[in-house]
């Protein structure tokens, strides 16, 4: 069984280039602007879209993504609306893979079975649940795989050769390599260690490896794309949203454009 994610990475492999994976938070700064941002991502050069499910206590995220989640929640975003956002996006795009990323509690409270059913119907292809390590696979990972969805795992610099087989055991779609020790968007990745770690992890998995956490520019993206199968950009896009807002935190005519311009720029890096 292949998913949209599998098909997209196969196609890119034939093209001979890495994927650009973009992350934005659902409902940031509000529902309509968020839909406008997401709807324009494929045209701007995004190959895979990660959508953050807002949570009050995002333990692995830096200040930029924390703030985005709180903006979204303040504007009334919730899980139902996040799924609606995907559904609305799918009306115009049947091919771009969508990955929902977030923390387990809102999913657990929604109900795992109901969430998998509703999100599949909405057009979601895979999930990254940050606080579900392999030790908790019974919770959500196995049910997701059974439902024919991808469960994407984070691998980190602490994922050594001893740990790697455990991490890659029940995973599919692609691997998200967290390039720095720490939280999202705070440190820049050290390109040498990224290359060494990506090559090391390839011995343990045949899945495409995408690299993220701290990627902000076309230059970084270009360098990472040489060794990885994809580059993930998140905090930089969320910061572009933040910078475009009025003092009261309201969206402006520049909000979606700012995000799309940055994505286009980084996409050129990935493709060059």
């Amino acid at each position: 069984m292949t998913t949209r994610i599998d098909r997209r990475f196969e196609a890119l492999k034939k093209e001979g280039r890495a994927a650009l994976v973009t992350f934005v938070t659902a409902g940031d700064p509000d529902y309509d602007t968020s839909l406008k941002i997401i709807a324009g991502l494929p045209k701007a050069g995004a190959d895979v879209i990660e959508i953050g499910m807002p949570f009050t206590d995002p333990m692995a995220d830096g200040p930029a993504i924390q703030a985005a989640g709180l903006r979204a929640l303040a504007a009334g975003q919730n899980m139902k609306k996040t799924l609606k956002l995907v559904k609305d996006f799918r009306k115009q795009d049947k091919d771009t893979p969508i990955v929902l990323m977030g923390y387990y509690n809102p999913v657990y409270v929604y109900g795992v079975e109901k969430f998998l059913k509703d999100s599949k119907t909405a057009g979601v292809d895979g999930y990254i649940i940050v606080d579900l390590p392999p030790e908790e696979d019974g919770e959500f990972c196995i049910p997701a795989l059974k439902a024919g969805q991808n469960f994407i795992r984070l691998a980190t610099p602490t994922t050594d050769d001893h740990r790697a087989p455990t991490v890659f055991h029940n995973t599919s779609g692609f691997v998200y390599y967290v390039s720095v020790l720490g939280i999202t968007g705070t440190k820049a990745p050290d390109l040498k260690s990224v290359k060494a770690n990506v090559n090391r992890l390839r011995k343990h998995t045949k899945l495409p490896i995408c690299v993220g956490f701290g990627v902000k520019s076309a230059e970084q993206a270009r360098a990472i794309a040489k060794d990885a199968d994809g580059v993930v950009v998140g905090s930089a896009l969320v910061q572009a949203v933040e910078k475009s807002l009025t003092k009261a935190g309201k969206p402006t005519s520049k909000t979606a454009k700012a995000v799309h311009a940055l994505v286009s720029d980084i996409a050129q890096g990935v493709r060059s």
């Binding site: 333990m59 509690n105 980190t156 440190k187």
Partner: protein
């Protein structure tokens, strides 16, 4: 009793860190290898008699254990029912039970060769205890504290600084204890090589709930011994306040299989459970969810977003509770009740006047419940309340509410 009552309530957690469905290891992958390493190191230390001997020595000579089991004679007369004893953990060095756990974890950190200690704190008691032990052993200490709590608990912030700790304000979210915990976890993922995270309560990913419980169980073991010596039998009931639940678990755990001992945990009802958001009673007013590495009862909205707890006591306003408490609640082994800000404040004042002891606002919640139930008990009913902290840190809060100018 519930159906499927286990043979023992004292065998948890299982190898996956679960107490029934509660507990577990819900953390980011970066932290998993560290948590597994900690689990192994703790297992080895637990099995090593020299570790326990070192801990016992520090508990006796540095912390001041055993703490007395004191017959609260005037409180007993005033309430006119049960014979009330206070377990005097407020007499420990640093003025609360928190140091019992900290000594254990810091000795473990030393065994593991970790040089940098991080901790979260709400009211500041765990932060002060951690800063104290770090000073004693010459370790670097960084304490995360919500910006709001730093303002509410200025004396403790200064204490930590005097002890050489760096106090870092948690400026995200609601800027209280839960956010301090988030910041500490963020620090840990960024500094995995040399850092030991000293958690202050029986929560967090496995093995923390088990480890903190084990270190705090000295409270219950002493109580058992002291009561047997004093009265020739076990107490009839135990009462303790619960935020995360470490003082309560420390008192309760050694008694869990003594089926005739009634055990009661008292959560903070703040301005009342009916307010929905202005309390910190995770069990009586919350539902199961996943936060900070474990599944447990949480205060949250219908979308799974965490609600900040409220209590007059900064040590109780955490939106969760230790997973073992969640399980003991479901198994009906421990009864969980609540006391409001006002009830705790009344108990606080009564304790000052009748016993000459200024209790912390946390155990004042336990005392408030003792005041409700003790009058209905016969005079030969032996009741133990954990007086887990002294109230010096709270006099500013209380003065403010009573309208006194300092």
């Amino acid at each position: 009793m519930n159906v499927n009552t286990p043979n023992s309530f004292r065998t948890g957690p299982d190898e996956n860190g679960l107490f029934g469905i509660y507990g577990g290891r819900f953390v980011a992958e970066t932290l998993m290898p560290l948590i597994l390493e900690l689990e192994q190191a703790y297992k080895a230390a637990k099995a090593d008699p020299s570790f326990q001997a070192e801990l016992d020595s520090f508990l006796e000579h540095y912390v001041g254990r055993p703490s007395p089991l004191y017959f609260a004679e005037r409180m007993t007369e005033h309430l006119g029912g049960a014979k009330i004893y206070f377990k005097r953990d407020e007499l420990n060095h640093t003025g609360a039970h928190k140091i019992n756990n900290v000594m254990g974890q810091i000795l473990l950190a030393r065994r593991m060769g970790k040089k940098r200690i991080i901790a979260e704190t709400g009211a500041g008691q765990h932060g002060v205890a951690t800063a104290t032990a770090c000073a004693r052993f010459g370790l670097e200490c960084i304490v995360y504290m919500g910006e709001v709590d730093m303002e509410r608990q200025k004396p403790n912030v200064f204490r930590m600084k005097l002890l050489g700790a760096e106090v870092v304000p948690a400026k995200s979210g609601s800027r209280t204890l839960k956010d301090a915990l988030n910041e500490a976890l963020r620090d840990w993922v960024a500094n995995v090589e040399d850092t030991f995270y000293c958690i202050g309560t029986v929560a967090g990913p496995h093995p923390y709930p088990e480890m903190v419980r084990d270190f705090q169980s000295v409270i219950g073991r002493e109580t058992k011994e002291q009561m047997l010596k004093r009265e020739g039998r076990l107490p009839d009931s135990l009462v303790a306040a619960i935020g995360g639940g470490s003082n309560a678990m420390g008192l309760f755990h050694p008694f869990l299989d003594d089926k005739d001992v009634e055990i009661i945990g008292v959560e903070a009802a703040g301005l009342g459970l009916k307010t929905k958001t202005k309390h910190a009673a995770s069990i009586t007013g919350g539902k199961p969810g996943v936060l900070h590495g474990n599944r447990t009862y949480l205060l949250m909205d219908d979308d799974g977003q965490i609600i900040e707890g409220h209590s007059i006591s900064a040590g109780l306003d955490y939106p969760g509770i230790g997973p073992e408490h969640a399980w003991l609640h479901d198994m009906k082994r421990v009864e969980y009740v609540s006391a409001t800000d006002k009830e705790a404040l009344d108990a606080f004042q009564l304790c000052c006047k009748l016993e000459g002891i200024i209790p912390a606002l946390e155990p004042s919640h336990a005392l408030a419940h003792v005041m409700k139930i003790a009058p209905k008990k016969p005079k030969d009913h032996l009741m133990v309340m954990n007086l887990c902290g002294r109230g010096d840190k709270d006099i500013f809060t209380v003065a403010d509410i009573l309208g006194a100018k300092l």
